[in-house]
Amino acid sequence: MSWTLIALLLLPLAGSLVVAFLRGNDRTAKLVALAFALAELVIAVLAWVAYDPAGDRLQLTSSVEWIPAFGIHLSFGVDGIALVMIALIAFLVPVVIGGSWADKLPEGRSAGGFFALLLAMETGMVGVFAATDVFVFYVFFEAVLVPMYFLIGRFGGPNRQYAAMKFFLYSLLGGLVMLASVIGVYVAARDKLGSGTFDWATLVTVTKDLPLSTQIWLFLGFFIAFAIKAPLVPLHTWLPDAGAEAPVGAGVLLVGILDKIGTFGFLRYCLPLFPLASQELAPLVLVLAVAGVLYGSLLAVGQTDMKRFVAYTSIAHFGFIALGIFAFSSQAGAGAVLYMVNHGISTGMLFLVVGMVMARGGSRLIQDYGGMAKLTPVLGGLFFVAGLSSLALPGTNSFVSEFLVLIGSFPNQPVFTVLAAIGMVLAALYILWLYQRVFQGPVRGTALVDAVGGPGAALDPERASVPDLNKRELAVLAPLVALILVLGFYPQPVLDVITPSVGATLSEVGVTDPVAQEGK
């Protein structure tokens, strides 16, 4: 019985309750929220240290009986994949709190409510990745919708009601389809073992023997839910709306973490529970994945709204992740998991810098900007760094994961890999073109032109009303930049945690690496 994961679950929840009662005092609420988030980060580091990559499939486990009639246990545990995702959550939440520190909230909303919801989300997200009982997973999968629904619906942009409801309905419908499959595997286990169970490790041994047709139906139930979450084309249209209307901080968690529940679900549930169906349906998923890469990239090129732009780049990136998962090699799989982490860092940063641009220019539209690097060179530079990570330049974190996904997918799926690799060129196009329009060229846009004192005027620092980054903003972005570079040059510590779990997942599917290791 390990208490680490339980602490990780309960601490943000406690923080959320405390912060919720500090409504009157925004500053105290923020400080308390940050304190809880940092404490969570410390525990996550301890969990990382305690985890043994060469050890059991699931570690740091704990289990309490919940509903005996259906064999449901509140059981938790992590493999390497869940561990890195929980570490990412614990890292991003304090960053998001710092990034949302000075957000202008809609009329009548208190900061306490906002930060309480963020912490509640953290508990929900940790629960999704830590649950080892399929029913508990389902509960967290649905529960995490609630705080996000309120974050978007209460604190979002002008069109927030529509976006929040769209987000909620998509996820809910997906979840219900999944519930059917969850009950399906329970029934299958009852038929085979005599008593039903939702325990993941037990179910894996049961469902893999189901006939292919049954596996396909059950697989699809999970898959649809995850494909909406991840999101894969054509189930993606909720994301640009939700991403655009969500407040920046919630957007970071939405794209950085919540969407990864989908890709995590592929790895933890679709593959090990239904190995035959996974292999049978892999070509279909690969088509969706590659379509996502190309379609998402082309749409990102065509966006006029910066936040929608970030959402579409994510759709392209999720295509890469799905490709890596369903290409069935340890390099591609490890690359996909690393991609999940890296995408959280780089797209999180991209969301944050877009928010910082918007806070200065007062508009989401790209056309309202131009030549901004002249006014805010540091913001321009850090925006560029986030962009480089997004286009997977070597030396940044994302290169390692994108490279691993592609080189690992190539032996099994050369055609899909080459098609997806075209996304590399498109990524350079959408990132650099956005950067050019917002930061380069002559100064444009009402807010910016006012700041320099009229169109074509020389920059006068005395009257510039568009300030460069302040200390808080720098402190928020600095850890992201540091991780981008460190993981770009030395990803080995993370890969060491990921690789054995990916290997275990692939052997549960029953596939072996196309390129065998020599001498081992």
Partner: protein
């Protein structure tokens, strides 16, 4: 192929080569304005330090006997089961030669930039980018595997992007930077896929293992790899059909054009093919394509070079053309690898010198680049004139200067091929030499000789021209490069010095006797070059030139002025259809896909009216959804029971 040993002696400190300039770049970028006072000095010091270390390492390696090839393992970069991408350095004659070129020419251009960029507000940032470039370029040539090469490859692309876009508030500079990065990424795609094939078939991407096991690849695989690597080379080196970005890249400051877009980065494609010589040796088809690309590009480059009136763009197309020669040379295989590298080195000297001379002229002429607004400048800028002219003579192959040895050797090697290949490739290369003499002489007459045409004119910003010689930080590097332009070729060629030194990396330089003998070629090229000079004198030296370019010109000239319609073709084939595709997809996504999915969701809810009602009451809608879910559950249960 030589098996590398572990690096020892001062070789074990080779990481300093990367660390020094990388350190400079980091300090300057993070330090910001605080480093304004001394930033340029730090930038120069780190590269000079790397050069000093490079020289020491070079002499230690010369002192060794045997294969002179060692590797320095730094750390495992991307290890996942069968794949182990190491981060390590390969120290052998080929990489050390490049280290000296990059840090040597790099140091000169850093020093030159102190003067050239003196009036720029963000000069330290410029030096940060230059340092970044040197670090990335050194990684490119020192990396011990294809993935570390790729790292440096994209790294120099980044530095190139930043420096082309130095004047980023000018829309054309920003666009040129983006264009360069994008066209390079198309090439990088080829390089990446080549790496994927190597991993699939051989399970490794490290040079030592790949080269030792080339024989395990099938003929089709080898050819595929050679062609994909060539695509990468075309992107980076501005070769047909990816040449269009290089002339636009002249939007960057002139020292950048000299260092990155003439002497070092754009020659990376030649390095790649030479480095991968064990793979190219295994595919005659692959090498034939390389030769064709080289020959086509060298002709395209010098034809367009004849038509431009922009000083730097003429030199840029000249670079495209000269790299065409190098690509042709390495395409020849064992008879050409070392010759390609020799021309790369001499070209590094004289083309960097020509660019710095151009920069010196423009610096003294209110940043004017139009050669029709120049003339007679030799009086005003004697040092620039003399050093530039020496570079000019070296480029057109004046006897016993650098280009005479390196370029003629390539032409002779092309003629030493048998049958139609000898005639076609040798003929193209010789013809190119004649045209090169023509367009370079045209530059000489229009810029330095003839009557001054600038005296009554004003530059765009309304100032009169007061051409003057540049300061010492600019002239000294020009003089040193001129010395190299004069003497390097003779030094490299005498007793096959360079080819012998490079043989552990490239194999022995072989000779063959094809359609024309070396001496015949020698006279032929001299004759063609003299003819080119003569024709240029007839057109541009003998009579006074107009300030405005003549518009009533033949179709050929018009085509050349339009880059032989390369950009128009790109526009029609990629840019415009791409724009339409993107717009159509955005429309479809907003209306079609979204509507479809929302519509089916509404259908599930009963009607679109109910969907709207879903949005009004949270609890009721949840209940309805639960009902829906229950139906699914029931369905699934039945499915499981009866299947």
């Amino acid at each position: 192929m030589t098996e590398p040993v572990a690096a020892s002696g001062i070789g074990s400190l080779a990481w300093l080569l990367l660390a020094l300039p990388a350190f400079g770049a980091t300090v300057l970028l993070i330090g910001g304005r605080r480093t304004d006072k001394w930033g340029h000095l730090l930038g120069c010091a780190t590269v000079l330090g790397a050069f000093a270390y490079g020289v020491a390492l070079f002499f230690e390696t010369i002192g060794q006997t045997g294969e002179r090839t060692s590797e320095l393992h730094l750390f495992d970069w991307v290890p996942v089961n069968a794949l182990n991408v190491e981060f390590g350095l390969r120290l052998d004659p080929l990489s050390l030669t490049f280290v000296l070129l990059i840090t040597g020419v790099g140091s000169l251009i850093h020093i030159y930039s102190i003067g050239y960029m003196a009036h720029e507000a963000g000069r330290r940032k410029f030096f940060a980018y230059l340092n970044l470039f040197v670090a990335a370029m050194l990684l490119l040539v020192l990396g011990d595997g294809f993935v570390t090469l790729y790292f440096g490859w994209e790294g120099v692309g980044l530095a190139s992007y930043l420096l082309i876009g130095w004047y980023q508030y000018k829309p054309e500079a920003a666009s040129a930077a983006k264009k360069a990065f994008l066209m390079n990424r198309v090439g990088d795609l080829g390089l990446a896929i080549a790496i994927f094939i190597l991993f699939k078939e051989l399970g490794t991407t490290q040079y030592a293992d790949v080269f030792a096991r080339v024989g395990e690849l099938s003929a089709a695989e080898v050819t595929a790899v050679t062609l994909l690597l060539l695509l990468g080379a075309c992107g980076k080196s501005g070769q047909f059909p990816l040449q269009a970005w290089l002339p636009d890249a002249m939007a960057g400051p002139t020292p950048v054009s000299a260092l990155i877009h003439a002497a070092t980065m754009v020659t990376a494609g030649v390095y790649l093919i030479a480095r991968a010589n064990p793979i190219y040796n295994a595919s005659a088809d692959g090498r034939l394509v390389v030769m064709i690309i080289g020959a086509v590009t060298l002709i395209i480059g010098c034809v367009i070079g004849c038509a431009y009136d922009d000083f730097k763009k003429v030199l840029a197309y000249s670079t495209v053309s000269q790299i065409g020669y190098m690509i042709l040379a390495v395409g020849l295989g064992p008879v050409g690898y070392a010759l390609g590298i020799m021309h790369l080195l001499t070209h590094g000297f004289f083309k960097a010198g020509l660019f710095l001379g151009a920069g010196s002229v423009m610096h003294g002429m209110n940043d004017e680049g139009n050669i029709r607004r120049m003339g007679g400048l030799w009086r005003k800028m004697p040092v620039t004139f003399v050093t530039w002219t020496l570079g000019y003579l070296a480029l057109i192959g004046f006897p016993f200067l650098s280009g005479y040895f390196s370029k003629d050797a390539i032409i002779a090697a092309a003629f030493s091929e048998h049958g139609w290949r000898g005639w076609v490739f040798g003929g193209a290369a010789a013809l190119g030499a004649g045209i090169t003499a023509f367009y370079m002489t045209r530059l000489l007459f229009l810029v330095f000789l003839g009557k001054p045409r600038w005296e009554d004119l004003k530059s765009e910003d309304g100032r009169a021209y007061h051409p003057h010689e540049s300061g010492l930080t600019m002239t000294v590097p020009m003089i040193l490069l001129a010395v190299g332009s004069v003497g390097a070729g003779a030094f490299f060629a005498s007793g096959n010095n360079l080819a012998n030194w490079l043989s552990p990396s490239l194999g022995e330089l072989q000779e063959q006797h094809g359609v024309l003998d070396h001496n015949v070629v020698n006279f032929l090229v001299l004759g063609l070059s003299a003819l080119g000079v003569l024709v240029a004198w007839l057109f541009f030296g003998r009579r006074a030139q107009p300030v405005e370019r003549p518009e009533r010109v033949s179709f050929v000239v018009r085509a050349a002025r339009n880059d032989l319609y390369g950009n128009a073709l790109n526009e029609a084939l990629f840019a415009r259809p791409g724009t339409w595709l993107t717009r159509a997809l955005v429309f479809v996504d907003n209306k079609g896909v979204d509507g479809l999915v929302n519509g089916s969701a509404a259908l599930l809810g009963g009607s679109s009216g109910r969907l709207r009602r879903l949005q009004t009451g949270f609890v009721r809608s949840y209940a309805l959804s639960m009902l829906l879910g229950a139906i699914f559950v029931l369905g699934a249960l039945l499915m499981v029971r009866f299947s």
